[in-house]
Symmetry: C2
Subunit: 408 residues, 2 copies
């Protein structure tokens, strides 16, 4: 029996992050790992030695299949920020003691920028103390804001969800034929990839959204209201997709103009909410028109009932590719997706040093928007469309998708 492996999930959940977990698990098993441990609640749980032998939870193929189709993070997650080892070596000593006790040879962390920061720090410290544990990052984030990788697993399904529900919201918002402005708030703190996905709604069977507001473009409330007023002159129902993270020219978030409380998390991120509500209220007041705000909220990241099969397949693949690389001796790297061609869509994986990824953010290029910065161009659609292709139907039992979860 070889050494053991350990895998954790970190950051915000997605509807396909468990497919990556399944990929890591099966690939480690097939490559001769002993026990494959799961960290409960990521590194935060590992520090408390909260781990589980995954084979006790995933005992047959049906359970692994259910895992692939269950949204959110099966192992639980955390937003724990690892200190620099030079500042707090004790934490690292504790972690490496636990890893030694568990006889770990391979360590996998599935997450976004912050999680790659964790992998980078652990690999650095491992090199410093001469550890032979291999540390590999597995990309995951609905935000699609990781550098290097063509796109991130999780984005395709969230983009598909957004495209689908925008079509449905557009249909719904036109029924009365009266003037009506709908502002839909979509996740994305600094990068507008998710909001841009609203552009997918347009087609021969849908008018599409009337305006897209990305955080990459400085926001001006008066200009926004004026654009709505002009659009209303020729179209009764106006549907707008706006990022939760749109900011004024002075750097303040638009949602800060409302009077809600804004909490801050361990990474110093402000809790953003209320952008659509503020804009809908402002438009209603200034243009004397009926408005509605819709926050897609957590539904956009956990809609396991509406995933992209392409995305689920790639999420599984990056998990397996990470295991392969770690078993081949790689460490301190992340698996990235590399697009080979668009038509037909072909994609493979490659490895990159964590330093090229951690703590960096990939923004939407403004050249993928029209001149007014209100719509996405064909270039963006060519990029995004392959990622939402095909469906993976949940396993429905008595009318509801069946999940698997860890009872604790």
């Amino acid at each position: 029996m070889g050494k053991n492996a350990i895998v954790g999930q970190s950051g915000g959940p997605t509807s396909v992050i468990n497919a990556s977990l399944a990929g890591v698990y099966e690939s480690c098993k097939n490559r001769g790992a002993g026990i494959v441990y799961g960290m409960c609640n990521g590194v935060a749980g590992l520090l408390k030695k909260e781990v589980v032998d995954l084979s006790t939870l995933l005992s047959d193929d049906l359970e692994i299949e259910l895992l692939k189709r269950t949204p959110s993070s099966f192992l639980g997650s955390c937003r724990y920020k690892l200190p620099d080892w030079q500042a707090d070596e004790a934490t690292y000593e504790k972690l490496f003691d636990i890893l030694k006790e568990l006889d770990i040879g391979w360590f996998f962390y599935i997450g976004g920028n912050d999680s790659m920061d964790t992998i980078g720090k652990l690999a650095d410290y491992g090199a410093h103390v001469g550890s032979d544990i291999r540390f590999m990052g597995v990309p995951k984030t609905i935000d699609n804001d990781l550098m290097i990788t063509d796109h991130t697993p999780g984005y395709g399904s969230a983009a598909k969800y957004i495209g689908v529900v925008m079509k449905e919201i557009i249909r719904d918002a036109t029924v009365y034929g009266t003037k009506y402005v709908t502002v839909v708030e979509i996740m994305g703190r600094n990068a507008g990839w998710l909001t841009a996905a609203a552009a997918l709604a347009k087609g021969p069977d849908s008018e599409g959204v009337d305006m897209i507001c990305l955080p990459e473009v400085p926001f001006n409330v008066d200009r926004f209201v004026e654009k709505v007023r002009v659009m209303q002159e020729t179209k009764a129902s106006i549907v707008i997709a706006v990022s939760e993270g749109v900011k004024l020219e002075d750097g303040r978030y638009v949602c800060e103009l409302a009077d809600d409380v804004h909490a801050v998390d361990a990474f110093g991120h402000k809790s953003l909410t209320g952008t659509a509500r503020f804009l809908a209220n402002t438009v209603a007041r200034k243009l004397d028109t009926k408005t509605r705000c819709i926050e897609l909220s957590t539904l956009q990241r956990c809609a396991g009932h509406l995933t992209s099969r392409t995305d689920i397949t790639e999420a599984y693949q990056v998990g397996g590719a990470a295991a392969k690389a770690a078993f081949e001796g790689h460490t301190g790297e992340m698996v990235a997706l590399k697009r080979i061609s668009n038509n037909p869509y072909q994609c493979t994986t490659e490895l990159h040093p964590i330093s090229e990824v951690a703590n960096l953010e990939k923004k939407v290029p403004l050249s993928w928007m029209n001149e007014n910065h209100t719509q996405m161009t064909q270039e963006f659609l060519d990029y995004a469309r392959p990622l939402i292709q095909a469906e993976l139907t949940p396993i429905y039992i008595a009318g509801l998708p069946h999940h698997i979860y860890m009872k604790r």
Copy 2:
């Protein structure tokens, strides 16, 4: 060629109201109607003679199949309240002149309580002036608050949507393992049928929601906060389903405690929104805990990507049954669904005078809740479960459900 038929859609859209339209259309055509007209935006549009020959829009079987799977109201809708004819006979004279001009023999209106009020008034006036036009009501509402009928087409799909997304929200809300209260706001002004459907989320693979708050039960904010506090002692993630229409003992809506503007529509209904936000903010402040509010908003009524096949089938059937009844000479009646048995689920249609339905509301019986009025009983689950069974997959083209819509 026989006389012509006309059909309209009214009130809030659902994801299956177009299946009823397809049922009326096909059944009228099969029974020898001449032209089948669609009213654009219901009676309000009819008064402006905004009608369309449906055969020009639904020219083949594929278009009818797409219609069945397209959410929202294909013909557009209205919230127009017909005056009493004794008070304003001119409106009725105008309407009947238009119907005469169009050579209408059969008139169908698909909608909820308010729409049945319209059918009742038209049938009464028709009898008064000796018209031979047959007026039939076709039930539709996600709210499930119509009397007489066992349930309403539209409810099953909305209930399924709510059950599915509550399961997904529950999975999402547990990931950090930290104290977290999620308040989900669900539609339903006075009847809690939709909010009750959150109970469907519970099963061997889901903890289910922790509390359900229906508008049928007087709401007390302090007692609510205290219940949350007690639940938090034994469970980190608390998920609560609350109706937008919950009211205090003094009759005020809970959302009126927040400081938003509340508009009023033509039927005198207040626009309810902000209930979950108010409660989440209150809990956060009083219990010093992290909270999130989620409004299911229009997504719960227009999620054509997640319908109940049982519901779509029944929606189509009631449309056909209404045409059959009208052609057999019935008028001033509504088609109702009558449940024959639960196990196996069997359901048929019957006819009832509009007076038994119009302007009445069917509430959730409190005997279907537990003693504390915080959860639904098995009796409710036995009632609701058959209605969410089986799926009708949208016709996906390039990753998105294909719709049909009327370009105007």
